[in-house]
Structure formats: structure tokens, C-alpha cells
């Protein structure tokens, strides 16, 4: 078993109930595990929420954590995967002064080459959106920061697995 720390995504399918985030985050907190990113959204199943949590830990410990998470009454199933086992995306938003768009020709090239998308433009600022891997967004950040970024924010990682999760089959079994 791998004893080196590495990034894992923990995918948790849950009932959509108030307070569950508190319960799940406490599992990480009491073991002093920092959550690198967290995203909660509806899943492919009606009424079932999906947590996607990225943590840096060993395989032994992530397995133990999964056990503790699955123990929670309202958790349907939890999985963990390495980054190689998933398809993931992160989204970044950049707010930049509008004058730069017209005065700095290089900015337009950066937008084009990075495949970023202009979300909105007005007199004061424009907003760029870039989805991709963490490194791609970081690269765009580095390039734009030379010209000045008014605001920057990045989403948590969202992921689907390469392999089937079989959660629907599991729920079907529970429902019968």
C-alpha cells in the first residue's frame, strides 16, 4: 500500500440534508487534515448531493477516512481516487481593468492562446473565465498578473471518474 502522501479526490454521495457538511468537514478537522478544495453540487441522481473533496494524504489514511465518512447516517457511499483516475476541471475567474484590453495588445493574445472566455465587458472592467487543470489556470494567472488583476478566484475541483461508480445501481438496491 502506498505510504507516500499524494492528492486524492474523495467523492461522497449523500442525502441532501442540512448539517451534513459540518459532519463531514469535522471528520477531516479532528484528524488535522487540510481540505485543499471542496465542491458540493447536485449529482446525477435526483435529491442526492455529491461532495468532491481534495486532500493530500496517504492511502492508508484516506481509506480510514472513507470508513468514517461512510459511517455517517446520511452518507450513501464514499469513494477515493488518485488524480490519474479521474477527469477533472477547475474554473478560474479574473477581473481585469477594461483599458488593458485595448491598450495592451499582448492581453488579447493571452486570452486567445489560453482558450479563456470573456464573460462580460463594461467600461471599468472585463471578466475572464478559464476552465482546466490547476496548472493551466495558474499559468494564466502568472501571465495576467504582470498587467494587474483586480480580482481573482478559483473554484474547487470537480471530477468524474474514468471508471463507473455504480452509485445508481446501489441506490436502486437501497430503494427496493
Amino acid at each position: 500500500m502506498n505510504t507516500e502522501k499524494q492528492l486524492y479526490t474523495v467523492s461522497i454521495y449523500t442525502e441532501n440534508n442540512i448539517g451534513l457538511l459540518n459532519r463531514i468537514s469535522a471528520i477531516f478537522q479532528r484528524r488535522h487534515i487540510n481540505i485543499e478544495s471542496l465542491n458540493i453540487s447536485p449529482s446525477e441522481i435526483d435529491g442526492v448531493a455529491k461532495f468532491t473533496i481534495v486532500v493530500n494524504m496517504t492511502e492508508v489514511n484516506v481509506k480510514k477516512i472513507i470508513g468514517q465518512i461512510e459511517k455517517q447516517v446520511e452518507v450513501i457511499k464514499a469513494y477515493f481516487h488518485t488524480l490519474e483516475e479521474i477527469i477533472y476541471q477547475i474554473s478560474g475567474l479574473f477581473k481585469i481593468k477594461s483599458e488593458l484590453l485595448f491598450e495592451e495588445r499582448q492581453i488579447q493574445n493571452i486570452i486567445k492562446e489560453s482558450n479563456a472566455r470573456i464573460v462580460t465587458v463594461n467600461k471599468e472592467f472585463f471578466v475572464l473565465e478559464k476552465s482546466g487543470r490547476k496548472e493551466e489556470i495558474a499559468e494564466l494567472y502568472d501571465e495576467l498578473s504582470v498587467y494587474g488583476i483586480m480580482q481573482y478566484t478559483r473554484s474547487g475541483l470537480i471530477a468524474v471518474t474514468k471508471e463507473e461508480m455504480k452509485i445508481s445501481a446501489l441506490l436502486k438496491k437501497y430503494n427496493n
Partner: protein, 577 residues
């Protein structure tokens, strides 16, 4: 006093009836066959108390003197009856006072439902009078919790609460109900909860694991069984005994497993862990197969983990999959309810006696007897020992009493020396080590099993943490026998100070009050013993009493509990002195 009497017919909930949320709460409890609840009134739970007044012929409410006492009493009730204990409190301080008992119940897997009143829903989050976020506060120490703000959600929440509390690995749940939900009227209909789609109380036994475990057990030359409370919680005592006897395997217990197999059983080789017996601790590091049943390898049991039974193959019978491989890596995990899995494995087990191996336990017991036990229970030097008091209680109760202990030296001594003939006879705070647990837990135990002799044994420290519950004992006429082993010290901490902190007795000496006068102040018969020759008569008088009785025994001031596995040491480094 005139009370409204409600007939069974009237409370039948097969058809819907328009009632208030607070009445619904009481009716839900009746539907769950709850007959005794423990609690303390206050502003945000008053509508429920008003209903309890109306339904007092159906539910007996015990007014404890502190909400902590209510939770411990509910725990004592649950531990001896196997049913769900119920505690109720008001919002804010009432609710936070429950937390110690809830945390204790969580770590010791005790089924408990706590109901708290909450400020009206329009005030939530406004720092209203007596508002606390009790759902947030109790989240890490409950098996499940929720807040209800609409009367119509009360039956569903409470049905779920009872189902979760008692199913699978039991635990405490908390339901917080706002005051407006208590007043609101709705069409009441109660349906018991039997299934929650996201919750699997008992995991499936993995195919082949029973056979693999049986093969390993049959091939073992030096097998050792270590059992915990799981045996008691799944009512598997009979199946467990059958396995131990058929396989002829020495069996040792964790503190919460005590009494599942009678103390006098020839294959019961004693207590595990920090103050456990010499032989099972030492031989844990010599067995070839370690069979753990319904226990969770607590650090007080294992000592230094990387030197714990490293030579042994480990089989773990367990209901909670998260416990498997948590502390000790297993070779075979038999998931499931112990009663079912033990019954299933029995036909696969060969008859055996392991005589030579068992002799090793007997040899080490002799050493422990000579160096520790003899002086503990048959002392010749001046000063009463805690061990001889327990021995006297054993004699007078014939090993039939339920012993409820607090936390500290007396607890370890009681667990080491108490004789248990019946299961569910050792009620103590294990995982959390909660001082103040003993006295209120004894009240709950006695009320759940009035036919049983319940002896509460406390130290002078823990006793004073919930001493106010003498008032509950008096008011409820709970015939609890209370023994305080008084050494005028916080004895266990003092022992550690002596052994590991150069005898610097920082804040462990207690100047104690007149305990007899306090008991008598609560109209409880009381006696104090300071000399050995007074002990037997005093214990006899206590046991003969039909009412509650308080006995203070002044024991030697600086008595120590041995054997001892020093904190962080391996179990084979267990010290006899």
C-alpha cells in the same frame, strides 16, 4: 393533584389527530414504548413538560438535579436494559449540559435519544435568550442529530432518532425542536422507522471470511480471544460462551466487555489494558492468533500499537466497518452482528482444549496473585484497601449485583475484583472516562432493573462532580447502594504524579466535606467506615437495606493500582509494582 388520564384507545395513532407538536413529542415517546425519561425543564421545553404532566400515567419523568445527571441516568438505564435511554432538556445551557453524557454515550456506543427545546424558529441565529447552536455543538459527538422547526416534521424525526440510536452500532442522537414547532398544531400520525436508504446498520458478512477465520482458529496453537461490549450489545453472550468453550480458548475482556462471560468461568483470563491482568496483557504478545470480538482496540487496551501482537494473526468480529484496520491491521475481518456471526462460525470450529497454553495464563496469574492481588484483597497492613471493599461486596452480593462505577482508581479496582455472574453487570464510563458518571448512571440502572441490586462505587473526586443527584435518589426513592472509596485524593492522577512526576502532588489532594452528613441531609441512611473490623457489618447493613444507602469507606491515602502498563509502553512491559 388531579391529572387528566389518557386511555390507550385515545392515544392510538392509527388515524390522524390534530394535536400540538409538544403533545406529538410525548406521543412519539409512548409509541416507542418509552416509560421513563430523565430531564430538567426550562423555557424552551415547557410545552413538552406541560404535556408530560398530562401523560404522567404513561411516562414517568425523573427530575434530575442537573442535565448531565439526566444523560448519565439515561445511559445507566440503557446499559442495563438494552433499551434506548431518553433525556430531555431546554435550550441553551440545558442543552449544552447534556454534552458530556452524549459524548460518553457516543464513545461507549450507548443508545440514547436526547430531545432539546430550542428558541422559536424566527429567533434562530439571533443570539436570542438561551439560544445555542446545539445541533452544531453536538455534531461531533452524536451518531445523528437534527433540528425540527415544523410540528409536522416531529414524528418523522423522532422515529428516525429511535431507529438510529438502537440499530447497528448503537449511539446517541439529538433532536432539537423549536418552541413554535412545539406549539403548532398538525395532523399527527406515527410510523416507526425501519429503514433509511443511506444507512446500513449491520454490514454484510463478506463471503468466505467465516471459513477463513475458522481455519485460522482451528490451526492456532496459542489462540487468545479478546472481547468487548459488542458481545453484550448484540446479546451474543450465549453464542460467545459456546465458542469459547468449544474451541477451549482463553478469553480476556475490555472494560466494557466485562460480565458477558462470568468472572468465575475457567476460560475467563481477566481484564486487558492499562490496569488489566498480568497474563492476558503479557500473552497478547505471545499468542499466534488474536480473535477480537466486538471491541475496537482502544489505546488503553493496546498500549504501544507498533508493538501490539505483531506476532499474531488477527481476526476481527465487528459490526462497524470503520473499526476494522483502524488501529490494528487484521488478517480476517468478519463483519456483521456478533450474535449471527458467532452462531455461524460455531459449527466450523474444532473442539480443543489448549491445556498447555492455558497453563501459561495460570502461571502468570500466580505471579500476579502473589505480588498484587493477595495484598489488595487480603491485606495485612494497616489501612483499608479498595480491593478488600470490593471483595466484601462480592461476598455479600454473591456476585449478583450490578456494579456501577465512576472513573479513577476505584473503577480499575472494581473492574479488576468485582465478581460478575450475570451479563450487563458492569456499568462504567469506558472510552471517555467521565468522572461524575457513576452516581446518576446508578439511578438509571436501578430504575431500569428494580429487581437487581445496584451498587454505585465512586471515588471522592468523581462523586462530588454529580453529588447533587442524591436529591434525585431521595425524590425517586431509588434504592441505590452508594459506596464512596475515600482516599482524600484524586487517586489516579496522584498515582501518575507519584510514578511519573516525582511525587509532585499538584492539586490532587482533596479536603472533603462530611459525606455522611450530606447523604443524611438528603434523607439517605449513611455510615462511615474507617477500620477493617467494621467493614463486613457495614456492607451487610447496606446490602440488607431496602432503601438507598450511603457507605463511605476511608481507604489508604496513597494506595496504587497495579499491574500497570505505563502510558505509551507495550502491553508486555506491564509492571507489577
Amino acid at each position: 393533584m388531579e391529572t387528566q388520564t389518557i386511555s390507550n384507545k385515545e392515544i392510538s395513532s392509527k388515524t390522524t389527530q390534530r394535536i400540538s407538536g409538544s403533545e406529538a413529542i410525548v406521543r412519539c415517546l409512548i409509541e416507542e414504548d418509552v416509560k421513563i425519561i430523565y430531564g430538567y425543564p426550562g423555557g424552551a421545553i415547557m410545552p413538552v413538560y406541560d404535556e408530560l404532566f398530562k401523560y404522567q400515567d404513561k411516562i414517568h419523568h425523573v427530575l434530575t438535579r442537573h442535565e448531565q445527571g439526566a444523560t448519565h441516568a439515561a445511559q445507566g438505564f440503557a446499559r442495563i436494559s438494552g433499551k434506548v435511554g431518553v433525556a430531555i432538556a431546554t435550550s441553551g445551557p440545558g442543552a449544552t449540559n447534556l454534552i458530556t453524557g452524549i459524548a460518553d454515550a457516543q464513545i461507549d456506543s450507548t443508545p440514547m435519544v436526547c430531545i432539546t427545546g430550542q428558541v422559536a424558529s424566527h429567533l434562530l441565529g439571533s443570539d436570542a435568550f438561551q439560544e445555542t447552536d446545539i445541533v452544531g455543538i453536538s455534531t461531533p459527538v452524536t451518531k445523528w442529530n437534527c433540528q425540527v422547526t415544523k410540528a409536522a416534521d416531529i414524528p418523522g424525526a423522532l422515529a428516525k432518532a429511535f431507529y438510529i440510536a438502537k440499530s447497528g452500532r448503537p449511539g446517541p442522537v439529538l433532536v432539537d425542536i423549536t418552541k413554535d414547532a412545539q406549539f403548532e398544531e398538525f395532523d399527527f400520525l406515527y410510523e416507526k422507522c425501519t429503514k433509511i436508504r443511506s444507512y446500513t446498520p449491520i454490514p454484510k458478512t463478506v463471503a468466505g471470511t467465516l471459513e477463513a477465520a475458522a481455519k485460522m482458529i482451528n490451526a492456532a496453537k496459542k489462540p487468545l480471544i479478546v472481547w468487548g461490549q459488542g458481545v453484550v450489545l448484540s446479546a451474543a453472550e450465549e453464542q460467545f460462551k459456546a465458542l469459547v468453550e468449544k474451541a477451549g480458548i482463553p478469553a480476556a475482556w475490555t472494560i466494557l466487555g466485562a460480565s458477558a462471560l462470568p468472572t468465575s468461568h475457567p476460560l475467563n483470563v481477566g481484564m486487558l489494558g492499562m490496569h488489566g491482568n498480568y497474563a492476558p496483557n503479557k500473552l497478547t504478545n505471545e499468542c499466534d492468533v488474536l480473535i477480537a470480538i466486538g471491541m475496537r482496540f482502544d489505546d488503553r487496551v493496546t498500549g504501544k500499537l507498533d508493538e501490539y501482537a505483531t506476532q499474531a494473526k488477527v481476526i476481527h468480529f465487528e459490526i462497524d466497518p470503520a473499526e476494522v484496520d483502524k488501529n490494528v491491521k487484521t488478517d480476517v475481518a468478519v463483519l456483521g452482528d456478533a450474535k449471527v456471526t458467532l452462531k455461524a462460525i460455531l459449527p466450523l470450529i474444532d473442539e480443543n482444549s489448549h491445556k498447555e497454553w492455558h497453563q501459561e495464563f495460570k502461571d502468570l496469574y500466580k505471579i500476579e496473585y502473589e505480588k498484587v492481588i493477595k495484598d489488595d484483597i487480603h491485606p495485612t497492613k494497616e489501612g483499608l484497601t479498595m480491593g478488600e471493599v470490593i471483595k466484601e461486596i462480592n461476598i455479600q452480593s454473591k456476585g449478583e449485583a450490578a456494579i456501577v462505577t465512576d472513573v479513577g482508581q476505584h473503577q480499575m479496582i472494581a473492574c479488576r475484583y468485582a465478581e460478575f455472574n450475570k451479563t450487563k453487570s458492569n456499568i462504567t464510563s469506558g472510552g471517555l472516562g467521565t468522572m461524575g458518571f457513576g452516581l446518576p448512571a446508578a439511578i438509571g440502572a436501578k430504575m431500569a432493573a428494580p429487581e437487581r441490586e445496584v451498587v454505585s462505587i465512586s471515588g471522592d473526586g468523581g462523586y462530588q462532580m454529580t453529588i447533587q443527584e442524591l436529591g434525585t435518589i431521595f425524590q425517586q426513592k431509588a434504592a441505590v447502594k452508594i459506596v464512596v472509596l475515600n482516599n482524600d485524593f484524586l487517586g489516579m492522577v496522584r498515582q501518575w504524579q507519584q510514578l511519573f512526576f516525582d511525587k509532585r502532588y499538584a492539586s490532587t489532594e482533596m479536603i472533603n466535606p462530611n459525606f455522611v452528613a450530606i447523604a443524611e441531609g438528603y434523607y439517605i441512611k449513611a455510615k462511615k467506615v474507617t477500620k477493617r473490623e467494621e467493614l463486613a457489618d457495614a456492607v451487610a447493613e447496606m446490602m440488607a437495606s431496602k432503601e438507598a444507602y450511603f457507605l463511605e469507606v476511608c481507604v489508604e491515602k496513597e494506595g496504587n493500582v497495579f499491574p500497570m502498563v505505563p502510558s505509551g509502553a507495550s502491553v508486555s512491559e506491564i509492571r507489577l509494582e
